[in-house]
């Protein structure tokens, strides 16, 4: 027994020597860093912004489907749910998912930095406001004040959409103040939207504010006092954006590095047209409308096939009657060269045209003192220029349509209808969700067709459903699904 103990002790000593602390100290991940500097976080967040707008079946695509802009060519079964207006818990739920788990999560990192990174912080607040507004406009009440806390709060409550709007307005004001009041801030690097020019960020913040103001401008009790907010914008003085706001990190013709819309609807890296590009085309209605108004933008927004423009009604089932193969991709008007410019094109997340139309509406409603007609015409011109046409083309279009309702501002029976209808053309293919929101709010453009597969007795959906995952992971907080056709977002009621 004595020996037994002796050998045991010896064994223990040997093993203990082998097992000092260093031996176990190998748990630092050599593959992934635990912290990174803000200039490595920001460009990813901004690329997420572009992705959630422009990737196949994200926000812009949804807008184009709901607004009867886009349809489907023969040989593809791509957009059946869209044509059925099949709003359910999985329909476009990726917008909700991607926004929170990628875009907002990534921007939120920048909102929790030291004061020396106040510029980054301000950018974070502005971009969060931009995305949260989109989410409210799509879903109504959403997780906001308790959102993005990750492990700390697994089940964030849903905040009232109205309250979120009010808070976003405050956050935008705070962001502008942060920029103006920052002391020795670190300059912003790797900013793939405004190259670190902070006055551009202030203008963009004001522009997002104006989008919100116009959105609630028909409400009897809006979430914030419109006059006060306009006074704040005016007092701040930087004004609004003067060019399209776009994300562009220097997109490359390489796998995973192309502009997301080009990647989805344009060409693969090898230069061949993508499947979604072939599958997606104009509707008959939108082509008829543009052709009927002699709008030269028709050839920019939609590609002209060799036998002339051809659109497909949404929800067509039998493509081959009366003419076999009439609607194959080669023969229909796919998305055009003014929208799909190339692998390195800008991902436009806010068009100058829209900003001008928003201001025009504000002016028409006397919320601001500028001349609505001038702003309206600037909006049309900006749209032409974004699509690759010239201001001269725009002037010609406006002159020719001087006496035409919905082209000539003074000739239009309802100036708001003219503004919204022109905005519909301007954002066709580029942030088309904005005209979907306008449609819910104003009913314009009037006379828009519905899908052949649309359910009877309804117009078009006015919102999205909360995703299934919220019912399993956040069941106590998520509201019951509102009616997709009648429960309008608060600003449209």
């Amino acid at each position: 027994m004595k020996n037994f103990l002796k050998y045991t002790t010896l064994l223990l000593v040997v093993l203990l020597m082998a097992s000092c602390e260093d031996f176990l100290d190998v748990n630092e991940d050599p593959n992934n860093p635990v912290s990174v500097t803000p200039e490595l976080v920001l460009p990813v967040a901004q690329s997420y912004t572009a992705n959630v707008m422009y990737t196949d079946r994200y926000i812009n695509c949804l807008g184009n489907m709901m607004m009867y802009n886009w349809s489907q060519s023969d040989g593809y079964s791509w957009y059946y749910d869209e044509f059925n207006y099949a709003v359910n818990a999985s329909f476009y739920s990726r917008i909700f998912t991607y926004s929170y788990q990628n875009t907002l999560k990534q921007y939120n990192i920048l909102d929790n930095l030291d004061p020396k990174y106040d510029y980054y912080k301000a950018i974070s607040k502005i971009m969060k406001a931009y995305h949260f507004q989109l989410l409210v406009d799509l879903y109504g009440d959403i997780p906001y004040s308790e959102a993005l806390k990750r492990g700390e709060l697994a089940t964030p409550k849903y905040d009232d959409a109205n309250m979120i709007y009010a808070n976003l307005m405050t956050e935008l004001t705070t962001a502008i103040e942060l920029i103006k009041d920052a002391e020795n801030p670190e300059a912003v690097k790797n900013d793939i939207m405004f190259a670190g020019v902070m006055t551009d960020w202030i203008k963009f913040a004001n522009t997002v504010k104006m989008r919100m103001i116009v959105r609630v401008s028909d409400m009897s009790t809006p979430p914030f006092t419109i006059a006060t907010e306009i006074a704040t914008i005016n007092a701040e003085g930087s004004g609004f954006i003067t060019a399209d706001v776009a994300v562009n990190p220097g997109y490359l013709q390489e796998e995973g590095k192309q502009n997301p819309m080009w990647q989805s609807f344009g060409e693969e890296v090898s230069g061949t047209q993508t499947m979604s590009g072939k599958a997606t085309c104009a509707t008959d209605y939108v082509l008829d409308y543009l052709a009927g108004t002699n709008d030269p933008r028709i050839d920019k927004i939609y590609e002209e096939p060799k036998d002339g423009h051809l659109g497909v009604p949404q929800g067509l089932l039998d493509y081959d009657t009366p003419i076999y193969d009439a609607f194959i991709p080669d023969k229909v008007s796919n998305i055009g060269p003014g929208i799909l410019k190339g692998f390195d094109m800008d991902a436009i997340i806010f068009t100058l045209a829209e900003s001008k139309f928003n201001l025009a509406e504000a002016a028409e409603k006397s919320l601001i003192s500028d001349d609505p007609k001038t702003l309206y015409e600037q909006g049309v011109t900006a749209s032409f220029e974004t699509l690759g046409l010239t201001s001269a083309n725009a002037a010609a279009y406006l002159t020719a349509g001087l006496t035409t309702n919905l082209i000539g501002y003074d000739a239009s029976s309802n100036p708001i209808e003219a503004i919204i209808t022109q905005k519909w053309i301007a954002v066709n293919g580029l942030t088309a969700e904005q005209s979907w929101f306008d449609y819910s709010r104003t009913g314009f453009p009037a006379g828009l067709d519905n899908s052949l597969l649309a359910p009877a007795g309804v117009d078009r959906p006015v919102r999205l459903f909360y995703p299934t995952s919220e019912y399993s992971a956040n069941g106590a907080n998520v509201p019951t699904q509102p009616d997709a056709f009648t429960a309008k977002i608060f600003w449209a009621n």
């Binding site: 037994f4 093993l15 593959n31 990750r150 492990g151 796998e255 089932l317 992971a473």
Partner: protein, 1032 residues
């Protein structure tokens, strides 16, 4: 290779001594019936390395040193006898039966052998005979149906399938549930087990449950398979043997699919469609594929619009596997030696799939005085060349392209895919959306090489008769590389206007993992106060593993056919990963015996792990057990001829599951699209982590009963266990709005219960006729007791296409399938939407059943008569469900049986109702809209309920018929043993009617999301062939 050289040098050191010898022969027969007994071990007393076994006629012949005094004859179930030689050259004896169980030895943790009576938990042994009867290429597959509590899943049926080894069901939600594998004393992995040549395995001991394995610390939770390789049997003379097997593999059955309708869309014929929504087959000659221009060297292809019999089945070839092993084995008093060389070559059922494997093993040991040094070493190398699995512009597996080939397509006419004048050529191929499967084989290859070197050095020192020191060092190194490439395909836009260009890529991978283990322990045996014994083990163990891998991918290659990363355009994707994992522990194990019929065992181990933070990384694993041999303890049970052995065991243990490396921190990763020039970008991973995360805790209580009847000719083993799992390490699914997709933390409680029954015995043992039977039954159930407040389920794995997935749900069996279902009235009738006639779906997903079988039955039996032997194994699993993913996919293409169930027209859903606001009214006249097609492709196929199927399967896994040629014929040609046999594997599978697509055992992943399969794997196969074993 350097390491191999060292081992070889060691072997030279192991010498063989020669001395004066004499020859003894004779016959051994039973004392009761006088029949000769084959297989009786005959060894020289005091020198057990010299010996032999009796042949089929009970005869033996042995060369013994002239110094030998006596021979010992022993046989399982018989009393061993010692017979003095006294200079005789012929010794015939009769031996008597005895109680079998009394001295049965079982292998326990650390490879320590104990008498079965001492062991306080359940173990089961699989012998090399049982394993190799079927000449398997992998040992895991050969264990199916043979061990109670063990579930072996063969994931797929490629040329190199992987196996999943699960003991007693699933216990962990997030982490590995596979049993620990220990090879020759060193902790290894399932893949190391797969890499063994089954011919080299001497036996496998299955230590069921955590208690049996508690000495293995954090890896113990899932039970252990202790695998020992052959070392050269005691008393064997020099043997050289060859084991050869040839098997051919064929598709056992194809999915059942409709053969009434062909290519088309919405009822109209279409000559380029992959979908089957065309008109009903009418036998007329119709154009298929593109319209060829007038000046084109090919005519437009015309084929009868009628089903082509077995057009998909005939795509598959007969696979061939040649498996040869040469082995040599020898031993004397002080040395043992075993060496083998194995060579396996296989062609798969998929054309051009091939696999080659070589194994080398050298095991040797030498005893010098009180010290025995042993080496076990093996080298494994394989090469696999199979079709790639991201084929075409949609990155699909090969099977997908077959499934998208309509019934009217004469697939075999497209073989000549590289010839521009063939209809198989890309531009001429009929299908506008998916490519020719023959083309896929030629233009997508995945080639892998892997190597594994295992070496174990053992030292055993009998310091005293009662005290032994054992030291062990093991290394297990694996390294390999692979290349996966895809060729570019462009299309003639006139012939193939819809086809998307297929881009080219090449991927290169390299990896290596080095695992080093060390154990040292003392075992002491003491007896005191006359009736008491104590067996003690004290020791320590250390484990370290380093992994490194690199991956490179280049896209859009410039030079066709040149598959090197330098040939890519754009920035190549590069990824390098490393992982280090370490731990060490000390353990002690004490078994106190009283009168050799009561044993009380205490064991404990303390582990320190590198994967948790300092101060939080030390864990103690205690276990306690009791064994009571009633037939020895209770006077009235002693010497009972009917109940000859009865043992009751009771045990409890606590073990912890460790966390993998690098899980305690939230991390950033570089975004795949970045950098853009000088702009780089990192993103915060979507998984959030609890900084205070700890190990998960498993507490197991187990009761066991071992009974032997009729002098232990029949034995019954029964066990019941209950495991409570707390502090589960779970990636919980928070609201997406939290900004995280998962939150890794310790929560909840699982409760796992199970019973295992194993009945085995020698039913008939009359003269030359013998019938052995082994039946086993396993039941287990894991219930989720708690997750945490406000959260009642966790997604383990969900599917993208429709709302369906595998979950852990509070109060329910785990793993649980959930899917969306129809809305039904209280009578279970489907509620339809009166506007469309379509069924309404419930938004919330419903419980569909568990995905692991609650009941597993295994039956294996051997009949032998003289040299003939027939063995067979059946396996029946029932009570679970699986998601038939393939059928769901085939709904869209109109190839499923369901899609023709209403004759492709609008119809009234049988047994459906309308909710008129106050009551449910039977629907007699509202037909589903678009019943011709889009009801199926867009409504029916979105309901998961339609595709969750009964996963019950009865499999005839094995049949072997073998014949040992009598020695009198073969000795003339200097052979010692010749066995020839027929073997068959997976000969029949019986599935429920509703399961028409695939083998429910197949799985898409090796993870806990068991129960999803169908189109990533090629169809199930059966195989049969011959084997021959010759020993010189």
């Amino acid at each position: 290779m350097k390491k191999l050289t060292i081992f070889l040098a060691f072997l030279l050191f192991v010498g063989f001594t020669v001395q004066a010898q004499m020859q003894i022969s004779g016959t051994v027969s039973g004392a009761e019936d006088g029949q000769p007994i084959p297989g009786v071990s005959v060894v020289v007393k005091d020198n057990t390395t010299i010996g032999t076994t009796t042949d089929i006629d009970g005869k033996y012949s042995l060369t013994v040193p002239s110094s030998a005094q006596a021979l010992i004859f022993s046989f399982v179930g018989m009393k061993s006898q010692e017979v003095l030689i006294n200079g005789r050259s012929v010794i015939d004896i009769k031996i008597e039966a005895e109680f079998l169980e009394m001295d049965e030895v079982v292998v326990t943790a650390l490879g320590i052998k104990r008498e079965k009576r001492e062991v306080t938990y359940q173990t089961q042994k699989v012998t090399d005979t049982e394993l190799n009867r079927m000449a398997p290429t992998k040992a895991g597959a050969a264990m199916a149906g043979k061990v109670a509590g063990l579930q072996i899943n063969v994931q797929d049926n490629g040329v190199n399938p992987s196996t999943q080894i699960i003991l007693r069901g699933l216990r962990s939600i997030s982490f590995d549930n596979q049993a620990l594998i220990v090879i020759d004393g060193s902790v290894a992995t399932t893949s190391a087990f797969d890499n063994l040549n089954p011919n080299d395995i001497a036996n496998i001991s299955v230590l069921k449950g955590a208690t049996a394995a508690a000495l293995y610390g954090s890896r113990a939770g899932n039970g252990v398979l202790i695998v020992n390789t052959k070392t050269g049997e005691a008393g064997q003379k020099f043997i050289v043997g060859i084991n050869s097997a040839y098997t051919m593999e064929q598709v056992a059955y194809m999915p059942k699919m409709q053969t009434e309708y062909g290519t088309g869309w919405e009822g109209a014929y279409d000559n380029v469609e992959n979908t089957n929504w065309g008109p009903r087959f009418d036998g007329t000659l119709r154009q298929i594929g593109p319209t060829m221009p007038d000046d084109y060297p090919l005519e437009t292809q015309m084929v009868p619009y009628a089903p082509v019999k077995d057009n998909l089945l005939n795509f598959f070839e007969t696979g061939d596997t040649w498996n040869n092993t040469i082995y040599l084995s020898s031993s004397n008093e002080t040395s043992k030696f075993y060496a083998s060389f194995g060579d396996q070559r296989a062609d798969g059922i998929v054309p051009d799939d091939e696999y080659r494997r070589n194994t080398v093993r050298i095991n040797a040991s030498k005893k010098v005085g009180k010290v025995e040094i042993g080496v076990t070493s093996s080298y494994f190398n394989d090469y696999q060349n199979v079709v790639g699995n991201s084929i075409g512009d949609q990155d699909r597996p090969l099977y997908w392209f077959l499934l998208n080939t309509s019934a009217n397509i004469p697939l075999s006419t497209y073989k000549d895919w590289s010839n521009p004048l063939s209809y198989g050529y890309a531009d001429n191929y009929y299908n506008a959306y998916y490519q020719n499967p023959y083309w896929a084989i030629g233009t997508n290859r995945n080639i892998d090489n892997s190597n594994r070197l295992i070496g174990n050095l053992n030292l055993s020192w009998d310091i005293y008769e009662w005290l032994n020191f054992t030291g062990r060092m093991g290394l297990n190194n694996i390294w390999g590389d692979g290349r996966n490439w895809r060729a570019e395909q462009n299309y003639n836009a006139d012939l193939q206007p819809s086809h998307s260009h297929v881009s080219s890529f090449v991927e290169e991978t390299e990896y290596s993992r080095g695992t080093y283990t060390g154990d040292a322990y003392l075992t002491g045996n003491f007896s005191f106060l006359d009736n008491f014994t104590l067996k003690a083990i004290l020791g320590g163990t250390i484990y370290s593993t380093d992994f490194r891998s690199s991956f490179m991918r280049a896209d859009n290659l410039s030079i066709p056919g040149f598959y090197d990363v330098s040939n890519g355009t754009g920035t190549p994707t590069i990824q390098v990963d490393e992982e280090k994992n370490r731990n060490f522990g000390f353990f002690g194990d004490f078994t106190l015996g009283f009168k050799n019929f009561v044993f009380l065992n205490f064991s404990g181990r303390n582990d320190w792990t590198s994967t948790l933070s300092e101060g939080n990384n030390s864990y103690f694993y205690p276990a306690v057990g009791l064994s009571f041999v009633a037939t020895d303890a209770i006077e009235m049970l002693k010497n009972n001829d009917i109940l000859s052995f009865a043992k009751i065991t009771l045990s409890n243990s606590t073990v912890y599951n460790d966390l993998p490396a690098y899980r305690t921190n939230e991390v950033y990763s570089k975004h795949g699209s970045f950098p853009y020039g000088t702009i780089n970008g990192f993103f915060l991973q979507t998984g959030a982590v609890d900084p205070d995360i700890t190990k998960e805790r498993l507490n197991t209580t187990e009761v066991g009963l071992n009974l032997g009847f009729l002098q232990s000719r029949l034995s019954l083993d029964f066990s019941y266990f209950k495991t409570m799992i707390n502090d589960l390490i779970v990636a919980t699914t928070p609201s997406i709005a939290s900004g995280a997709t998962s939150y890794l933390t310790n929560i909840g409680e699982l409760e796992s219960n199970g019973i295992e029954v194993s009945l085995s015995g020698n039913v008939i043992n009359y003269r030359d006729f013998k019938w052995d039977l082994n039946f086993n039954y396993t039941h287990n159930s894991t219930i989720v007791n708690e997750i945490y407040e406000g959260l009642d389920e966790i997604a383990v794995g969900t599917q993208g296409e429709i709302p369906i997935g595998v979950y852990a749900v509070v109060g329910e069996e785990y793993p649980q399938m959930k899917s969306n279902i129809y809305e039904r009235d209280p009578q279970g009738r489907i509620v339809i939407d009166p506007a469309t006639g379509w069924p309404k779906e419930l938004e919330a997903q419903a419980l569909m059943g568990r995905t692991t079988p609650p009941h597993i039955y295994g039956l294996s039996t051997t009949l032998s008569y003289k040299g003939f032997s027939v063995s067979t194994t059946f396996d029946y699993r029932t009570g679970h469900v699986y998601y038939e993913q393939g059928s769901q996919q085939m709904e869209f293409t109109g190839r499923s049986l369901a899609s023709v169930s209403a004759n492709r027209q609008d119809f009234v859903i049988p047994n459906s109702v309308i909710d008129n606001g106050t009551e449910y009214v039977e629907n007699t006249n509202i037909q589903v809209q678009n019943g011709r097609q889009s009801y199926w492709t867009n409504v029916y196929n979105n309901v998961g309920e339609n595709y969750v199927k009964d996963a019950t399967a009865l499999k005839w896994r094995e049949l072997s018929v073998s014949y040992d040629i009598p020695k009198k014929y073969i000795q003339k040609v200097s052979l010692n043993k010749v066995t020839i046999g027929f073997i068959g594997r997976n000969l029949m599978t019986w599935l429920p009617e509703e399961n028409c697509f695939a083998d429910p055992e197949f799985n898409n992943t090796n993870s806990n999301a068991i129960g999803v399969g169908g189109y990533f794997q090629s169809p199930p196969t059966k195989s049969y062939g011959f084997n021959i074993n010759i020993e010189f």
